[in-house]
Amino acid sequence: MNGGAFQRGRDLRGDLTLDVDAVVVGTGAGGSVALRELARAGLSAVAFEEGALSRSGDFDQREDHMLPRLFQEMGGRTTEDFAIRVLQGRGVGGSTVHNTNLCKRTPEPILDLWARKYGVAGASAADMAPAFETIERDLSVSLIAPDMRNANNEVLRAGCEALGWRGGPLAHNRVGCQQSGFCELGCTYDAKQNALKVLLPHAVAAGASVYSDALVTRIVHDGARVTGVRGVLLDAFGVPQGSIEVRARVVVLAASAVGSAALARASDVPDPHAQLGRGLRLHPGAAVAGRFDRAITGWQGIPQSYECTEHLSYEEGSDRRVWIIPVFAHPIGTAASLPGFGASHMSAMRAYANLAVLTALVHDETSGEVLPGDDGRPVLRYAMTEADRAQLARGIAACARLLLAAGAREVTIPAIPPVRVTTSRELDALDLSFVRPHCVPLTAVHPMGTLRMGEDPTRSAVRSTGEHHHLRGLFVSDGSLFPTSLGGPPQISIYAFALHLSPHVIERARQ
């Protein structure tokens, strides 16, 4: 296919009708790889993205401008009960545009578990190694050197060393980083080696087209095989201004664990065993802040370059399921997270430059669900189990202990009401039963599950090839695939699984 291009849906007039080999829904980690591989195989392929097409010059490092541009529901998406804020990407490149570039392979014990318990075939560590190596090369993944570690990350390293806890540097996909510290608002310096900068341009160069402002609303099928998709072109305000009608032999869902599942359910995809949308994992996290006598200026420099894995085991049912990393927000995010309001809140904000913040993310076993909502927004149903709540409490205590060990004068757990400790002895005596959803602010940035892979159609939505058990030509190529939480950042796993499964997508598109 020749003549690939980036097309802004908002600039198109009239309706869009296409006849292609394959259509990809979503342009994040999974969709970009699927599109590239389809195009490189010589197939005609297009991708649709609900959000806008941004370039580095659009990323002005202002929270109030970037939240609406880069995040679903302007950054306000939550679980149905409002207990967990769920930050998900919206726009060409998906969440790879706003993430902090964390790169970790799927842990081998997780792959073993998927094979052993969930019937995933052909995805052992050895099977996956070539895909990981290719993606890591494509995205220039490398460890962040110690001299590029900012003060917030140094606090975590110091805490780990003081306590003798397991920790280490993290790898990122960044080249030419200016260390300005605004990764989560898009990179104005184009240093992120992500879907937007690397993979989608590869796909377009190979002949694929990428449409922004193009919302797919239905997978078209006859009950046995897909025949295409329908949707709407959106104007700059998100108002429909034209229709989309695409005929295709293959439809690849890559709209995230939330978007893909909601679309599948809204499209009446056959689901005899009630698997669509089930198995949602959120990898939820809670932040803890430490106040230091020295300036930390945690918003400056590379975020999340160090991890603590002392409390993280990948064994199912483990009582150590917490991953700890630094986290820091710009003023709006910080103000929303700190407890209280009014004068006491402003006093706390005055210490902004002296705060170090860590987050504890739970490798969750809670199984939630995604449903299509009445107003077009997906519904995320997720009721945290007691075991996961206990892990959250463990993680919060561990964050507090790390901050104190690193020299924090005072640690704040932003509960309602807030809890403050100044010594390890106070922490030891702390009753953590107050830690639960709605009493501590929770955020999730890694939704997974919902269209799980496996060979057993009674316990999975798609085969180990990524193709739906009952609808020929419907593939999944995003974090929906994962039968469990990864316990870590999913982007490299999503990229790699998309690549690993792409031969099956290509084979089907050729038939």
């Binding site: 002005d60 490092q61 202002r62 929270e63 109030d64 609406p68 529901e73 302007m74 306000g76 939550t78 009960d81 409002f82 207990a83 590029m148 900012n150 980083c177 200016q178 260390q179 300005s180 510290g181 605004f182 104005t188 310096y189 300036a295 200026t297 918003w299 400056q300 420099g301 710009h330 003023p331 709006i332 103000a335 929303a336 407890p339 209280g340 309001f341 009014g342 004068a343 809140h345 402003m346 006093s347 904000m349 005055r350 902004y352 430059a353 107003d375 077009g376 927004r377 309602i416 009401p417 807030p418 809890v419 403050r420 400790v421 100044t422 106070e426 005596a429 702390l430 709605h438 602010p441």
Partner: protein, 187 residues
């Protein structure tokens, strides 16, 4: 170790939560809200809020973003100085209809029912600032998950409007966006 606040009046809060839940969820909630007697500043054009919603939000924003050194430090911009409510009006206008509906119901609860739950026989917008603080603190620490979530949403919106403004950054030592590549990078 300190835990701030406390569980005062649990029975009252339970009652308040129940009443508020009915208001927040009730389809006809808006019908019981008295909406007369509210005026927005002359020349103000509202994107989504009605005048009563604008006034109630403005009162809440003044308390949520209240200064820690009232009167003594003229360098602290007020919520009105940076037009928090005008910003919030424009922001909410772009949100899905269900979110706008929820905010409207929450503001109705804040104005008419929350003061009653805290022992006041007056609208929130007519209370003295210290009394408004007490009402807001009661919602923040409510036994109702819904009400606490509503408060957190309101708080997030207020601080979005407040700390978006560069005039507030000096208060907290924030140096703002770092657009423009210095030689050798930013560190």
């Amino acid at each position: 170790m300190t835990r701030e606040g406390g569980g005062r009046f649990p029975r009252r809060r339970l009652l308040k939560a129940a009443v508020a839940g009915a208001l927040l969820l009730g389809a006809g909630a808006a019908a019981v809200v008295r909406t007369r007697g509210y005026a927005v500043p002359a020349g103000r054009t509202l994107a989504w809020m009605s005048p009563w919603q604008f006034v109630v939000f403005q009162h809440a924003a003044r308390r949520i973003a209240a200064p820690d050194r009232p009167g003594a430090d003229a360098s602290i911009p007020s919520a009105d100085d940076v037009d928090v409510t005008g910003f919030a009006d424009g922001w909410i206008a772009r949100m899905p209809a269900a979110v706008r509906r929820d905010l409207g119901r929450f503001l109705a609860y804040l104005e008419h029912l929350a003061p009653v739950g805290s022992g006041y026989a007056s609208r929130f917008s007519r209370l003295a600032p210290a009394d408004q603080d007490r009402v807001l603190a009661g919602i923040e620490a409510s036994s109702s998950d819904q009400l606490r979530a509503g408060f957190e949403g309101l708080k997030s919106l207020v601080f979005m409007g407040y700390y978006r403004d560069a005039r507030t950054w000096a208060l907290i030592g924030y140096d703002g966006p770092r657009v423009g590549r210095p030689e050798g990078g930013w560190r």
